[in-house]
């Protein structure tokens, strides 16, 4: 579970206490202050599951692969799932860090691509900030049977299939079934039930 109740506090103080503090610092009573803090610092850090937004979005994108069926013509080997991304963004970086991870017995490969060679991808994440080039990117990828994901609401209106959004401190997702079907993708009803909005 992500919601480890991290008790980092006391650990930190142990480390600081073990450092050899210079005389000048000791003189000013830093050691005493540290000791005081050890007493008052709360030891329970988090009571609820929390994660940074980019990590959460990356995890949802990779998880979504379990709910999508691709047509047989997709060229990726069966034991591997490939997530591609374009551009630089916190979510792209979080995806890179998932490279090599195993999801439900399949190893995850994360690669950066140009719009032309999306055939090997099961999913493609588009970083925000490329609004101008979006239409041509979508046109190029169109026939490739790729789940196109993004976290820019504007992109969703213009034809991406999976939209992630931060609402009231949690991530929600929308699915555009029309464009998914056009690309030959089948999305499981379980994922559709969890979606905030399904466009049919």
């Amino acid at each position: 579970m992500v919601a480890r109740s991290t008790c980092a506090g006391p650990w930190l103080f142990e480390v600081i206490a073990e450092m050899r503090l210079p005389q000048s610092l000791l003189k000013i009573g830093a050691a005493r202050a540290l000791a005081l803090f050890t007493l008052v610092a709360p030891t329970q850090a988090y009571s609820q599951a929390q994660a940074p937004e980019p990590d959460l979005k990356a995890a949802i994108i990779s998880n979504m692969l379990l709910f999508v069926e691709w047509p047989a013509r997709n060229s990726s080997p069966a034991e591997q799932l490939t997530i591609c991304y374009q551009g630089n963004s916190p979510v792209a970086t979080a995806l890179i860090r998932l490279n090599g991870k195993t999801i439900k017995g399949k190893s995850l490969k994360v690669v950066q691509i140009n719009s032309a060679n999306a055939a090997e991808c099961q999913a493609l994440y588009l970083s925000p900030g490329n609004s101008a080039g979006l239409d041509s990117t979508l046109a190029l990828i169109g026939p490739s049977s790729v789940l196109i994901a993004a976290d820019s609401p504007e992109y969703f209106q213009r034809g991406t299939m999976l939209n992630l959004e931060l609402v009231s401190g949690r991530i929600v997702f929308d699915i555009d079934l029309r464009s998914a079907h056009k690309a030959g993708l089948q999305v499981s009803s379980k994922a559709l039930r969890l979606a905030r909005q399904v466009i049919e």
């Binding site: 980092a8 450092m19 503090l21 830093a30 540290l34 940074p52 959460l56 969890l194």
Partner: protein
């Protein structure tokens, strides 16, 4: 007689592409945030569980910090708002290895054992939202009350230790300070601050801003300050001629404005500041205990900036800017004539940066920066009768090219290489390289090996200033100084926002520009032999739920000249502890403990000191506002900073306990 140590600024400015104003992000082009949680854990969750996870705002320890090719300290918004540091210097002295010196006029910062006498910040680069602020006459980065901006307007303060000329060119020798300024959307309204305290000091502050429809945003910050100053005693002047007391000679006032308007990809920024300070120290041989010796520093900057969208992998960004700096120094002499200094600099410049990200695993950045210092004027004259002693204008220009690549050749490994070539019209071209290898063996641990060189061209003041060779002579043969630096650093992140780091560094300077006094007692700036420093810094910090935070560091260093003598104003040890915590009924306490060991000075040594600063703030109450009590130097410790050859004092005593009350009303 006198000269005027004032300030420096230089030229070009480099900064970066659009991804956020953060230095780390923009400059180093590692514009990605990352996380402190275990991403791997997340992927094991079911989809429905993922949708229930609460999002925490990106950790202060963004990946951009871990991936930056340098050791970076970030002072975040929460701490800046809660602690309400009185100026940039007060905030920056909490950074590992940074210390300040105040001569009761300017506050200069030392980094990793270097704070040369007569240097007013020329070896530290100050950026506001990525724009260079050191001036072309004195190269001065201003950090005390004389700084061009207020801490009130800063969203986060970043300090990058070590040389950064590979990105920024001249001046980025020991450190780079980037103040990421607030935007309208951070305020969405306005707040008024009234502050009063010791020595009849009064400050009025106004911050306002709004995010508007159609991708528009505006921000305005204004501040005015006035203080009468206390009475000071200098035993060196208790000589029978005067009684050693400087009464009512420490007054200060400033006015500052910062305005920013952005629409779409465009942003227009303007900043004006003017600070006047009475000088009580009788520097440069002026008369002691008499009114009439004072300085004024004024700076202006207007900047228009465009941050483009990515198109086929390219992302352009450019800025054009125009800046002015004015220095006004007035010196009272007995017997007359009194004298005045006037310095004026005007400059314009542009930067074009291009990022390219379509090569997998690479982030490339290219840049062309130019700055024309169209006027770099220094005048020194006697008044009544008016006799001109110095009148010189030395315009210059700089053209720079740089390239940088961040290559993630393996998911856990990052190589960051940068190269910058600067051509200053007055000097041979300088090429500054930097390389950093970053290994992240686990999600929480990162190890860095870094090496780079940096330089600074001598400023107009060091080269051309002379007061008729009474106290100071020019040196037209002065050459740039250089530093080569290597550093090993490790950082371990724990919990959501905990971090512990260690850094080992070695700096080698050659042709160090230093104030030297000849046999006739006249000083000038000359290139010295080598000097080197090595040291270690350990820092740790954490934040806990409920508003508890703690940040501490110890730094130990040794700086020597080639002949084995220790550098002046170079403390061997420093310790810092910064904290914030809730107390009761909505009040919070925050503060810091600062310890600095003894320092040598040109005129004598000063002992080490330890001081405690404390703040108590109430919770903001609608229509009544927020109250804060600030106590600096709680223990009323007597401590001093070393002086330099433009003063006869052995040391300058710093302020004892000071109490200020601050009231802030959000509208």
């Amino acid at each position: 007689m006198n000269s005027t140590p004032s300030h420096p600024h230089g030229m070009r400015t480099a900064r970066c592409l659009s991804w956020g104003a953060s230095i780390v992000a923009s400059l180093f082009s590692s514009c990605v945030l990352a996380s402190t949680s275990d991403l791997a854990d997340l992927t094991d969750l079911a989809l429905e569980d993922l949708l229930r996870v609460n999002v925490v705002s990106a950790s202060r320890f963004s990946q951009s910090t871990t991936e930056a090719p340098a050791t970076v300290t970030v002072i975040g918004e929460e701490e800046l708002r809660q602690r309400e540091y009185r100026n940039l210097a007060a905030a920056l002295v909490t950074v590992p290895g940074v210390y300040s010196s105040n001569d009761r006029n300017y506050t200069s910062l030392g980094v990793r054992g270097f704070n040369r006498p007569g240097d007013y910040g020329s070896r530290i680069l100050l950026l506001t939202d990525g724009a260079r602020r050191n001036d072309p006459v004195y190269d001065q980065a201003l950090f005390g009350n004389e700084a061009p901006i207020e801490v009130d307007w800063v969203k986060r303060l970043e300090f990058v230790s070590g040389p950064a000329s590979a990105v920024y060119g001249s001046n980025a020798l020991f450190g780079t300070v980037n103040a990421v300024m607030l935007s309208g959307g951070d305020i969405n309204g306005s707040r008024v601050t009234l502050d009063g305290g010791e020595h009849n000091s009064k400050r009025l502050g106004l911050v306002a801003g709004q995010k508007l429809d159609g991708d528009k945003e505006w921000f305005l910050g204004f501040a005015a300050y006035k203080a009468d100053g206390g009475n000071l005693y200098f035993p060196e002047f208790d000589d029978g001629i005067t009684d050693g007391h400087a009464r009512g000679l420490d007054g200060e006032n400033y006015q500052k404005v910062y305005a920013k308007f952005s629409w779409g990809n465009w942003r227009l920024t303007g900043n004006f500041s003017s600070r006047k300070k009475d000088v009580p120290t009788a520097w440069y041989g002026s008369s002691f205990g008499e009114k009439g010796t004072w300085t004024r520093d004024e700076s202006r900057l207007i900047e228009l900036r465009y941050d483009g969208d990515v198109a086929r992998g390219w992302q352009p960004s450019f800025r054009v800017f125009s800046g002015n700096y004015r220095f006004d120094g007035n010196y009272q002499f007995a017997p007359p004539p009194n004298t005045k200094d006037r310095a004026a600099a005007d400059w314009v410049g542009s930067e074009l940066h291009l990022a390219y990200t379509d090569i997998p695993q690479h982030k490339l950045m290219f840049g062309v920066d130019t700055q024309w210092n169209t006027r770099v004027e220094q005048r020194y004259f006697e008044v009544e009768p008016r006799t001109v002693i110095l009148d010189t204008n030395n315009p210059s220009r700089v053209v720079s090219l740089f390239v940088q690549d961040e290559w993630r050749f393996h998911p856990d490994w990052l190589l960051n290489v940068g190269l910058r070539h600067d051509k200053n019209s007055d000097f041979a071209a300088v090429t500054s390289p930097r390389a950093a290898l970053i290994w992240q063996p686990t999600q929480r641990l990162s190890l860095k090996a870094m090496a780079g060189s940096a330089y600074r061209v001598p400023n107009a003041y060091e080269r051309f200033y002379n007061d008729g060779n009474v106290t100071q002579a020019a040196n037209l043969n002065l050459q740039p100084e250089h530093i080569a630096s290597t550093e090993l650093a490790a950082a371990y992140r724990f919990g959501q926002s905990g971090r512990i780091g260690i850094s080992l560094y070695k700096n080698q300077m050659r042709d160090l520009i230093d104030q030297t006094t000849g046999s006739s007692g006249i000083f000038s700036y000359t290139n010295q032999n080598r000097a080197h420093a090595r040291g270690i810094e350990i820092d740790a910090e954490n934040q806990w739920s409920g508003g508890y935070r703690l940040r501490g560091s110890v730094a130990v260093q040794q700086s020597k000249r080639e002949d084995g003598t220790m550098l002046v104003n170079s403390p061997r040890r420093m310790g810092k502890l910064v904290f914030g915590m809730p107390i009761a009924i909505g009040w919070t306490a925050s503060g810091e403990l600062l310890g600095v060991s003894s320092r040598r000075g040109d005129n004598g040594s000063v002992p080490g000191y330890g001081i405690v600063n404390l703040s108590f703030s109430s919770a903001p109450v609608a229509r009544l506002g927020q109250l804060a009590l600030q106590i600096s130097n709680l223990g009323d410790r007597h401590y001093s900073d070393p002086t330099t050859s433009y003063m006869i004092q052995r040391a300058v005593e710093q302020d004892g306990r000071q109490i200020h009350l601050r009231w802030t009303l959000a509208l």
